[in-house]
């Protein structure tokens, strides 16, 4: 059994825009969500810029009950619930108010780690011999699956409710997990997405690895430079993206708006062998992932007319471009348009895949390829492989029919998903 799967709803909580409308406008204009954080400066971080969604208190009251807001100290949970509830509503679906679970509706919502600030509070209390003062909220805000558990309860879903985790691949992986479950007939609707937390305890480890840019603390919007010769490393970010995936039958029966079709994709790992390691990708695996994603989707490589890369703004960007080029057998002016949103929103880590898939899909409806920022000086190694015209420096009118999106993560894991504009 293999059924067509479509995207019928989206929500986003991104550093440069909360909500689909603001996010779309931000991507259009190349608006940066990267800001200087005085707390990172106080803590002697090398990189003191970061990309964090701006969520106002009055917005929180729209998404959480007063009880849920009590002792709430998990930023990823906040972003995930906002994006998830928005996507559900955007799909024209309502929270379940009956006594019966929605058996055909599930949640696959990933994260890297949840409730780090809450966990920090708990550590202090436990060490102070005040374990009884933790209350009931510590576990549910710090378990990784807290995000799928919250969303599952808020929406009343009765199908699979789980949290996946595969570093920076998480969001894209979740979409493919949801696609497979719906395609095989095990569910009709799955809310999928991912969230990533904010703050020094999340970002500190990356700062210590010296893979974040240090020369832009007084010029935050220039700090994240995917595909640029002057790229220094990725800017850490946070947020959440969410998509409602649905069987085509179910979407048609409901008369739902269809954003795009998920044609297929591929997940794999480089096994941390050869040039692959815990932190470096194995090119053979990346190329294989892209090739199999294209094949599984029943298309040919030249049909892909836009790519949203992983492209984090490290020295590996040129290698990624080469891998796309080799995998697709396309180079120079034949290569599709390619963009990375990370110039604006930094690298949102576990949230990156879902936020960027939302942005990629928005291009179908808007009839554009969103522009890249901070890569006026395209890296010379990239220009040896593809023509500079393939890297739009600002948003261009162009109606893509098929978009490929890939995400790669620590642990040498890869995900590539193929979306198409919906046609019946």
């Amino acid at each position: 059994m293999s059924r067509r799967v479509v995207v019928t709803g989206m929500g986003v909580c991104a550093p440069n825009g909360v909500g689909i409308k603001d996010f779309t406008e931000a991507l259009y204009k190349g608006k940066s969500g990267i800001r200087h954080h005085s707390r990172l400066e106080q803590l002697n971080f090398g990189c003191q810029v970061a990309a964090e969604p701006l969520v106002k208190d009055n917005v929180l009251e729209r998404y959480f009950t007063p009880l849920q807001l009590r002792g709430l100290n998990a930023s990823g949970l906040v972003y995930g619930v906002i994006a998830g509830k928005d996507a559900w509503a955007d799909a024209g679906l309502s929270p379940n108010t009956s006594k019966t679970p929605l058996w055909d509706c599930g949640i696959i919502f990933g994260t890297g780690i949840l409730g780090v600030d809450k966990f920090r509070d708990a550590i202090y209390q436990v060490d102070n011999k005040e374990v009884r003062r933790l209350g009931s909220t510590t576990v549910i805000q710090t378990m990784a699956s807290g995000i799928s558990a919250y969303l599952g309860g808020i929406l009343g879903c009765g199908n699979q409710v789980t949290t996946n985790s595969s570093a920076c691949t998480t969001g894209t992986e979740g979409i493919l997990m949801a696609y497979e479950r719906i395609s095989s007939g095990k569910a009709e609707v799955i809310l999928t997405g991912s969230c990533g937390e904010s703050g020094p305890y999340i970002w500190g480890g990356f700062d210590a690895m010296r893979i974040l840019p240090r020369d832009f603390n007084d010029n935050p919007s220039a700090a994240s430079r995917p595909m640029s010769a002057s790229a220094q490393g990725f800017v850490p970010g946070s947020g959440a993206g969410a998509l409602v995936l649905e069987s085509l039958e179910s979407a048609q029966k409901r008369g739902a708006k269809i954003y795009a079709e998920v044609l297929g994709g591929e997940l794999n790992s480089g096994g941390q062998v050869g040039e692959g390691s815990m932190t470096a990708p194995n090119s053979e695996a990346v190329q294989r992932c892209i090739q199999k994603a294209i094949r599984n989707s029943g298309i040919k490589a030249p049909q892909v007319d836009a790519i949203n890369g992983h492209l984090t703004a490290t020295s590996k960007d040129a290698l990624e471009i080469t891998n796309w080029s080799v995998a697709m057998g396309l180079s120079g002016v034949k290569f599709p348009y390619i963009n990375s949103f990370k110039g604006m929103i930094g690298h949102c880590l576990s949230a990156a895949g879902s936020i960027e898939c939302v942005g990629s899909i928005l291009q179908f409806e808007e009839g554009v390829v969103f522009g890249n920022v901070n890569c006026e000086d395209i890296h010379p190694e990239i220009l040896k492989v593809i023509d500079g015209s393939r890297i739009p420096q600002k948003t261009i009118p162009y109606r893509p029919k098929i978009i490929a999106k890939a995400s790669f993560g620590f642990g040498d894991v890869n995900a590539c998903v193929i979306f198409s504009a919906y046609k019946n």
Partner: protein, 83 residues
């Protein structure tokens, strides 16, 4: 502290934990937190912490086990304040 004031203070704590389909007016002295007010049993520990903070008292495990109804809570608070 007046009885009425104490009761009101407790009611203010409890009402936050009521599920959506239970109204504040249903809180009575005889109400059982879990079986009548439908409060999630996990939230009972939060009510206890809130009571400790609001009345500046410390409850023992035994006190917590005995706290089934709103009146039980009042009695325990009274006994602690009397010390």
């Amino acid at each position: 502290m007046q009885e009425e004031e104490k009761y009101q203070k407790l009611k203010d704590i409890v009402k936050v934990y009521l599920p959506e389909d239970v109204s504040v007016s249903e809180i009575q002295p005889t109400s059982n937190f879990i079986t009548e007010l439908n409060i999630n049993s996990a939230n009972l520990v939060d009510i206890i912490l809130d009571v400790e903070d609001a009345f500046d008292i410390h409850l023992e495990n035994d006190d917590m086990n005995q706290m089934q109804t709103v009146q039980d809570a009042i009695d325990i608070i009274d006994s602690k304040l009397a010390v």
